[in-house]
Structure formats: structure tokens, C-alpha cells
Amino acid sequence: MTANFRSMPVIALLTIVSLPLVIMYVFTLVDTFTNTEPGSLVPNEFTTEHWRFLWSPDVGRGSVWVATVNTFIFASTTALIVTSISVTAAYALSRLDFPARRFFLSGIIILHAFPTITLIIAIFLILQWLGLFDTLIGVIIVKTALELPFGIWIMKGFYDTVPWEIEMAGVQDGASRFMVWHKLVLPQVQPGLAALLIFSFLSGWSEFLLPLVLAPGSDSQVLSTYLAYFLLDDSLEVDFNLFKSVGLFYAVPVILIYLVFQKKLMNIYGGGSKG
């Protein structure tokens, strides 16, 4: 009771500061289902017309469902590839003493810090040369490559917290190095694995720049570029409520994933499992 009482001022302050955000979200939600007279704040009619993009394909550019499926394929494939490469590469970097290990480590940090935008032209040229321009596979490969340094670095952090004695004990118990990794070490970095999987899925889901430049066609578009079309295309009159509806549709999976997996995601910031 007293503890609650003492935190009242803090709670009050936080409420005031976050009020504009909350109001914005509420209005976004309300706007997608209503129409409002110009100049008024209060909506005057309920409508589902702003959600018409879900059933009439001629509203945006191409079908929203194709874009949704594309986004899902894009995000989950990159997440799976990033996670599975990170989990093995990070182990090697954390534990194995191979030539040029330091070079790889610093390389990863530099790559992670590298702004994507500066690479985009080179990537564009390479994809075109490979014939992967404007394909989903092309963007997946590029996104995976750019996301990998982060994934490897995070997983290395998790591996570093596993005491090496555990591995040595496993080896003494007669297990092969692979079995030690699989049966003894992997279970202990599993929280990191789950977090990385979700994190890279979300990162793929919200990726905008790469699909915009590398997969501009309507067949390979993802939700972010589908959404941007409503703003970027000059020939359309901007319909803000429609834009908000599409935006909400795009954001709902992200919000759901955050709600369901927030504990697991926290692991990435917590820095590893407890031994």
C-alpha cells in the first residue's frame, strides 16, 4: 500500500507523458472504422470502407494478401536462416580456436555497425547480375546477410556465459564434441535462440528499405512497401484513414508477437542464461 502510494507521482508523470501516444493509438483505431466531418474531432458515422483493401484488390497496388504471404515468407525465412547460421557460427567464434578468429570477430562488429543504405547500390547491381532482382529470394538473401552479424554477436554472448567446464565434463564423460554441443550447450543457450528467432522475424516483418529498392514489383512486394504505396504514389489522393487501416493490419501481428513473447525477447537484453 505504502509502496504503491509512493510511486503515485511517478505513475502520474508517466501517464501524462504517454497520454499523447495513447490518444494517437486510440484515434488510429477509431479512425479506421469511422468517418469524421472535416474540421470536427468527433466521428459521425461508422463504416468499414477503410478496410475495403482486404476484399477489393483494386484499392492498393496488387493484392494485400499476396503482400501478407510474401511478408510472412520473407520474415520467417530470414529468421530461420539467421538463427540457424548464428547458432553454429557463434559457437565456433565463442569456443573454437581457429585461424583468423580475431579478424572474424572484429569483422562482425564492423559489419553490424555498417549503414545498409551505403551498400544498397552495390547490392542492387549484384542482384541484377545474378538475376535475383525483384524476387523474394533476392531480398531474403540480402536481409539474411545483413542481419547475420547481429545474430552471431548475440548468440556468441549467450555461448560465452556457458562455463567451459561443462563442455570439458561432457568430453570427459565420453561424449563427442558434437554431442556435447547438442546435448549440453545448446539447451543452455536455448533462451537466446528463441529470442533471436522472434527478434529477426520482427526485424524482417518491419523491413522497408530493402524490399522497396530490391523488390519493387507488385508480385514480390511485402506489406511495408504495399503500405508505402498509398503515400508515395502521386496519382492517388492520399486517404489517411485507409492508410491507417492498412498500417494497423500491418502492425497487428507485431503487437501480438510482442505480447505473447515479451518474456523471451527480454532475454536478448538480459544477456544470457544463468548457469
Binding site: E165, M168, G170, V171, G174, A175, M179, L184, K274
Partner: protein, 349 residues
């Protein structure tokens, strides 16, 4: 099974950590590797179990040469300082892991786990997780896991270092009991002389990657081969005094200690005396004068430092009695037949 290290050399990068070490541990014997921190005890242990590779020399278990075999084929049980239990498995699975690796059938595994759990007195803990156990219990689990597949040798790296004082005492005798009951050849690495002396059949005392002396605990205490060994064993430690042989006496300052009959023909000139605290006190005469410069009451015993005229300090330990005061002048004696003599370079005379 007998363990034999011959001419073992280990270098990290370019620094030689172990240089030409020979060590034989007899079948069923418990050997202590004792020495100050950084002298190469763990390195030796990890080489025996195959974690480190040897840069020179050979290692035999019985007649089998294992110098170049990987850890998995050596059949060595290791207990690590932090126990290294597998946190995601319960105790049963922890102990069963080495047997699962061997792909034994589940009834055999269950039987062996039960047997070994009874040996180390933890049958009621099998369903718990490592995090739910106390330090002493984790230690028992680590022992059980190391012993369950009947290794040729058991290696323990500072097994008691992470325990509090009371548990340390208990686990000291427990580890020894388990070693004796299984009759396994064991090597115990420790920097604690009390552990080494109380648990092991023989002690190999190491310094800078070399074995300085290898003998039974009492022999090492009574008959150290040099000042390092004499100074390492014993608490409170031995005192060293520079002295001169003068006729039938050792003289230092104005003080004299009779040369024991057995020593007479071996000593002469300048040398160092090693006097253990239990061999200096009022019960041995009154030939040595000094001032009390330090008093410590240890309950059962009193500990004194006596500073002689020439500044040399000799420690004394005596049964608790009338306590002497700081600064008091005393005339005590030295038990001459127990005095250890070393030359000025530190070698025993």
C-alpha cells in the same frame, strides 16, 4: 590402475609451464599435487585427462599408452572446481549422462545410478536440479558422475575450494572414504597443505612446474628436502634463522642451540636453521632470549612471535596457559633434535 607420467613437458605459446616432469601414482593410491597458485597443478591435471595436449613426454595408464588419445578414449573421471553439473538435467540424468553416451540399456543405467548414488549418500536427491542443491551435495553429484562408469583414474581439481569451512571438513573425509571404498587411483590438486596432508597417501609438492619433493605427508613434514618444502608445510609456518656452527652449538647473536648428536658430522660453518613453532618454547630450556612481539590466542593454543636481539623472529605455539604480554622478555629453548638444517642456498643438510 597405475598412472605414469614420464618426462612430461607443457608449453603455452612460448612459456614452458611444466618442464620434464616425472610422476608415478600407484594403483589405488591417492596422490596430492600440492603447490602455490600458478605452479602448474591444473595444467598437469588437464593434460592427464586429455584437455591439454602434451608437448613432450609420455603418459601411461597401466600398460596402455594414452599420450595421444583424445579425452573420450582415456576413461578418466574428473571433478571440476565448480562441479560443472549440467544445469538443465536433473541429478539422475546428470549421473546417467556418461552411461547414456555408452548407449547402455535403461535398466543397467538405472541400477548403476542407484548404486553410485548410494555410495556418495545422495539417493534422495536424484529428482532434483543442480541449482536446488547445496555446495556439498553438488560435490557429491560431481563425484558420482565422475565415478559412475568406473574410470581408470579419478582427477580432482581443487574440489573443496568452493565450500565453506565446515563442509570442507566433512567433504575431506567423504572424498577419502569414497576413494578408499572404490579403490580408485586418484590425483587431488590443491594449494591447501592441510587437505593434501589429511586426504592423501603421498604428496607431490610442486614449484614453478617442477616436483620439488614427493613423499608421504609425515615424511614431508619431518624431512623436507629444502627450505621451500619446509616453509610450505605447517601452519603457523616454520621460522628460518641464519646461524654459525660454533663448537658443539649453533650460534646466532648471543643465542645458542646445541647441535643434535646425529647432525654433528654433517654441519659446519654458516647455515640456516629451520625451527617449527612447536619446537620452540619454555619446555626446551632457556638458551634463546627475546621479546614477545606478537600474541594470538587460538583457543586451544597460544601463538607467539619472539623477536631476538638481532631482529630475527621465531614463532612458537604452546598449549593455552598463563598468557604472556606483548613486550615481555622471555628466555626459551629450542628442541635441538628437531632442528632442521639447510645450507645458505636452501638445500637440506
Amino acid at each position: 590402475m597405475q598412472l605414469k607420467l614420464k618426462n612430461f613437458t607443457k608449453t603455452f605459446d612460448s612459456t614452458t609451464v611444466i618442464d620434464g616432469m616425472d610422476l608415478t601414482v600407484n594403483d589405488g593410491e591417492m596422490m596430492a599435487l600440492l603447490g602455490p597458485s600458478g605452479c602448474g597443478k591444473s595444467t598437469t591435471l588437464f593434460t592427464i585427462c586429455g584437455i591439454h595436449r602434451m608437448n613432450g613426454g609420455t603418459l601411461h595408464f597401466g600398460d596402455r599408452e594414452v599420450s595421444n588419445l583424445p579425452s573420450q578414449q582415456r576413461n578418466v573421471g574428473v571433478v571440476f572446481q565448480n562441479y560443472a553439473l549440467y544445469p538443465h538435467m536433473d541429478i539422475r540424468d546428470n549421473i546417467a549422462f556418461p552411461l547414456r553416451v555408452q548407449k547402455l540399456d535403461s535398466t543397467t543405467i538405472a541400477r548403476k545410478v542407484k548404486e553410485i548414488a548410494e555410495l556418495v549418500h545422495i539417493p534422495e536427491l536424484l529428482d532434483r536440479r543442480p541449482a536446488q542443491l547445496s555446495g556439498g551435495q553438488q560435490q557429491r553429484v560431481a563425484l558420482a558422475r565422475a565415478l559412475v562408469r568406473k574410470p581408470d583414474v579419478l582427477l580432482l581439481d581443487e574440489p573443496l575450494a568452493n565450500l565453506d569451512a565446515k563442509l570442507r571438513l566433512e567433504m575431506r573425509s567423504e572424498i577419502r572414504r569414497i576413494q578408499l571404498e572404490t579403490g580408485i587411483t586418484a590425483i587431488l590438486v590443491t594449494h591447501d597443505q592441510v587437505e593434501a596432508m589429511s586426504m592423501c597417501d603421498r604428496i607431490a609438492l610442486m614449484k614453478d612446474g617442477k616436483i620439488v619433493q614427493l613423499s608421504e605427508p609425515s615424511e614431508m613434514y619431518n624431512n623436507p628436502s629444502n627450505v621451500f618444502v619446509a616453509g610450505f608445510l605447517g601452519n603457523p609456518p616454520i621460522s628460518f634463522v641464519k646461524a654459525q656452527v660454533q663448537g658443539d652449538d649453533f650460534g646466532f647473536g648471543n643465542n645458542r642451540v646445541a647441535v643434535a648428536p646425529g647432525l654433528k658430522f654433517r654441519v659446519g660453518g654458516a647455515l640456516q636453521l629451520g625451527i617449527r613453532p612447536e619446537h620452540f618454547g619454555p619446555q626446551f630450556g632457556r638458551d634463546v632470549q627475546g621479546k614477545i612481539s606478537f600474541v594470538e590466542n587460538q583457543g586451544r593454543e597460544d601463538l607467539y612471535n619472539v623477536t631476538l636481539e638481532n631482529g630475527v623472529v621465531i614463532r612458537s605455539i604452546q598449549p593455552a596457559g598463563t598468557r604472556l604480554k606483548l613486550g615481555e622478555t622471555v628466555s626459551w629453548g629450542v628442541s635441538s633434535e628437531n632442528v632442521l638444517t639447510f645450507d645458505l642456498q636452501g638445500a637440506r643438510l
